[in-house]
């Protein structure tokens, strides 16, 4: 065994480039400096170019009057409002279709995913056909299909499909009656809140009692009855203080009531159905990832089939399901920017489309739009990570 002679005199430190920690630090500093220099160069260059070309810059345009109309808005908006407000209108329209899309895609996805594992041959094959069809057709084509092939084929306003003379469907959209609340209606939301609080207390009490005595009440059903029954009782008791504003054909269009525009319907359907196909596969794989031994063990404890699913399989499957589910939610929200292809007034169509063109502030508008999608995605991601941490395996 040979011993390498220590050539370095004791007490003398090695040169800094031989020290791994210092070397790492130097490289990191160099990289940071390079990135910073690149960003500085970009920003400076943009400013030089813009001023050299006589293009006005800055965010001052946000307080100018927009002067154009938007067909759907969740907040009060008229053409007298500012460009800043068009940003809000577009943002809310994006969130609306994104939110409803996530809800519908999750619901359809879970149902189809479980159906695909069903012992019922027909049901399982139907679910497979659904997944393979909608997963493999580009989303833009599906949006066009719903918008141009399905909703454009509906009759004109004068020949609307009428459902009981209160609900009308035509090429201009779905017209629903809108509830107008009279005085005395304020009691209903209050009762609703009371019922929710009572249900929460009931569920907690039921769990404690179950742990202590082994006896259980069907708490879920009682809660549902409370939450929906109590407000209904109050509603009837106060003499139904609601009138309905029923849409009516006057002049060109239906007036009154509440309108769901076909652009929203097409986008929502396409996004939900497309994303649901992916979610269904995630759910199926999540359930199949749980070893069959778990089910058998639960059955050996003589748990009924629904409790095996609810208490043993699904909590474990969720751990597998949630991370990829998050990416699907993010995809859905980002894909909603395809709205501009059919004229749904989302953020990209209203703000990065019309506002950008009317003001010419391309860099500012595109930067704001990108920042919005980044923020929404990070928030959804954060929430899902928190939820994932909650259901994650706690090792004991």
């Amino acid at each position: 065994m040979s011993v390498r002679p220590n050539t370095r005199p004791a007490g003398q430190k090695p040169p800094f480039w031989r020290d791994r920690a210092k070397r790492a630090l130097i490289f990191q500093l160099l990289l940071t400096a390079a990135v910073a220099a690149f960003l500085l160069y970009i920003v400076g260059n943009v400013q030089d170019n813009l001023s050299a070309r006589g293009i006005t810059t800055g965010f001052g345009f946000l307080s100018n009057t927009a002067g154009f109309g938007i067909v759907q808005s969740l907040i009060d908006y008229s053409s007298r409002d500012t460009y800043g407000r068009t940003f809000l209108v577009g943002l809310l329209n994006t969130l609306l279709v994104g939110g409803f899309g996530v809800l519908a895609a999750t619901t359809i996805g879970f149902i189809v995913g479980i159906a695909r594992l069903s012992p019922n041959w027909l049901l399982a094959r139907l679910a497979t056909a659904y997944i393979e069809t909608f997963r493999n057709i580009p989303l833009l084509l599906q949006i066009f299909f719903w918008y141009f092939a399905v909703l454009r084929a509906l009759p004109s306003a004068r020949d609307s499909l009428s459902f009981g003379e209160v609900l009308f469907l035509n090429v201009r959209g779905l017209y629903l009656p809108e509830p107008l609340f009279e005085s005395g209606f304020g009691l209903i939301p209050v009762t609703f809140l009371v019922a929710i609080v009572a249900s929460v207390i009931l569920v907690i009490w039921n769990r404690r009692r179950h742990e202590a005595t082994g006896k259980r009440l069907p708490a879920i059903w009682i809660s549902l009855a409370l939450i929906f029954g109590l407000p209904l009782l109050v509603l009837l008791a106060t003499g139904v203080p609601v009138t309905w504003d029923v849409p009516e054909l006057r002049g060109f269009n239906f007036r009154g009531g509440f309108t769901i525009i076909p652009e929203f319907l097409a986008l929502w359907l396409a996004l939900s159905i497309y994303t649901a196909a992916f979610i269904a596969e995630i759910v199926r794989s999540g359930i199949q990832a749980i070893s069959h031994g778990q089910t058998e063990a639960a059955q050996a404890l003589s748990l009924p089939r629904n409790l095996v699913l609810r208490l043993v399989v699904i909590p474990q499957a969720l751990r597998v399901i949630i991370p990829p589910l998050t990416s699907q939610y993010l995809n859905l929200i980002k894909n909603s920017s395809l709205a501009t292809a059919i004229g749904y007034p989302d953020l990209v169509s209203v703000f990065a489309g019309t506002t950008l063109n009317q003001t010419g502030q391309a860099i500012e508008v595109i930067a704001m739009t990108m920042a919005v999608y980044l923020t929404i995605s990070l928030l959804v991601s954060m929430f899902m990570n928190w939820f994932n941490a909650r259901v994650a395996l706690v090792e004991r």
Partner: protein, 341 residues
């Protein structure tokens, strides 16, 4: 996910972001001569103004401006690269240098002229916004349109002017906006909207694309001023002058009665105006860095303004638009070109 439109926008923004500052004041004329072709931004297909014909050659009133510039600069009206742009892409494409002339039925407004780093080089068509409705509705005027759903192309001054008109007259409307004029026509035909609105010249062009042109009428009301003209980047005055005077040469040629057919005979004309226009007396192209025969090339290869108008949008075309406001100043219209001297 991004559509093609946004990719083009982003790419153009990227060019603005990354390109060196040197291109800002580049000599467009030298670049064009070196390339051997004029980079011209046109519409995504508007018959009469800029649309490819059956053989794939671009034709139209706006296209003739590009051809005139190419004839003046390069002596060959066919030396043009046409770049098709939608309403949203057009200014970014010009700012970033993807095109050197934007000749795409673009309205001259203060904002566009002063804040986008662009210059309007004249007016080749005086237009105004009108409305087209289905004949069955039995509507005779724009004041009957309260509550209508209106199909509009996004990124146009139409979006603003229609909103102004309805607000000023205390009427309501639902704006249904689409990316391309083709989609707006589709929406109108499917009954998604009651009214199709655009510049009246465009309405005439879009009407003949309908399955049943007789089933639609263009209302007589004109609700705005829409002077349409070619646009160039700020900061290159030579190029600005070339585009401006190419248009003026066509107008002056009409005024002096010089056409593509008689231009060769006219070179021996005694009329001093014509002699100056055709480069027989002095060289008026010199100040723009052009040859003396710059206007001769325009007129012999493209024709004068009247020829271009009649061939593309006038009575010799399917659009059958009357000269009206676009007649010469001495014939009851607004078209007036400064003299060449």
């Amino acid at each position: 996910m991004l559509t093609k439109k946004h990719l083009v926008l982003l790419a153009s923004a990227g060019v603005v972001t990354l390109a060196g500052t040197s291109t800002a004041n580049a000599a467009t004329l030298e670049d064009t001569v070196e390339r051997g072709a004029v980079q011209c931004g046109v519409s995504d297909g508007l018959p009469g103004f800029s649309a490819p014909d059956g053989d794939g050659n671009w034709q139209g009133l706006d296209v003739d401006v590009c051809r005139a510039v190419a004839a003046a600069v390069l002596g060959d009206a066919d030396a043009v690269n046409y770049i098709s742009l939608n309403a949203v892409e057009r200014f970014t494409a010009l700012q970033s240098g993807e095109v050197d002339v934007l000749s795409r039925n673009t309205t001259w407004t203060t904002t566009r002229d002063t804040t986008l780093g662009l210059n309007f080089a004249g007016v080749n068509f005086y237009d105004g916004i009108g409305f087209m409705v289905s004949r069955d509705l039995g509507i005779s005027g724009a004041d009957e349109l309260d509550g209508a759903a209106i199909c509009i192309q996004t990124g146009t001054t139409t979006e603003l002017n229609v909103a102004d008109y309805f607000r000023a007259n205390d009427m309501q409307f639902d704006p249904i906006v689409f990316d391309t004029s083709e989609q707006t026509v589709g929406g109108f035909q499917a009954g998604r909207c009651d009214v199709l609105t655009s510049d009246t010249s465009q309405l005439a062009a879009l009407r003949i694309q309908l399955d049943d042109p007789e089933g639609a009428v263009i209302l007589p009301d004109i609700i705005s001023k829409e002077p349409l003209g070619p646009v160039v980047r700020q900061g290159d005055d030579t190029w600005f002058n070339i585009v401006k005077w190419s248009l003026f040469a066509m107008l002056n040629a009409e005024e002096y009665g010089v056409t593509s057919e008689n231009v060769d005979d006219m070179t021996s004309s005694e009329n001093p105006d014509i002699a100056r226009l055709l480069g027989q007396d002095g060289n008026y192209g010199e100040g723009m860095g052009l040859e003396a025969d710059w206007a001769y090339n325009i007129i012999s290869q493209v024709g004068n303004y009247a020829e271009s108008f009649e061939r593309n949008v006038g009575m010799g075309s399917p659009l059958e638009i009357e000269r009206g406001a676009n007649a010469l100043w001495n014939q009851g219209g607004f078209q007036y070109a400064p003299p060449i001297r």
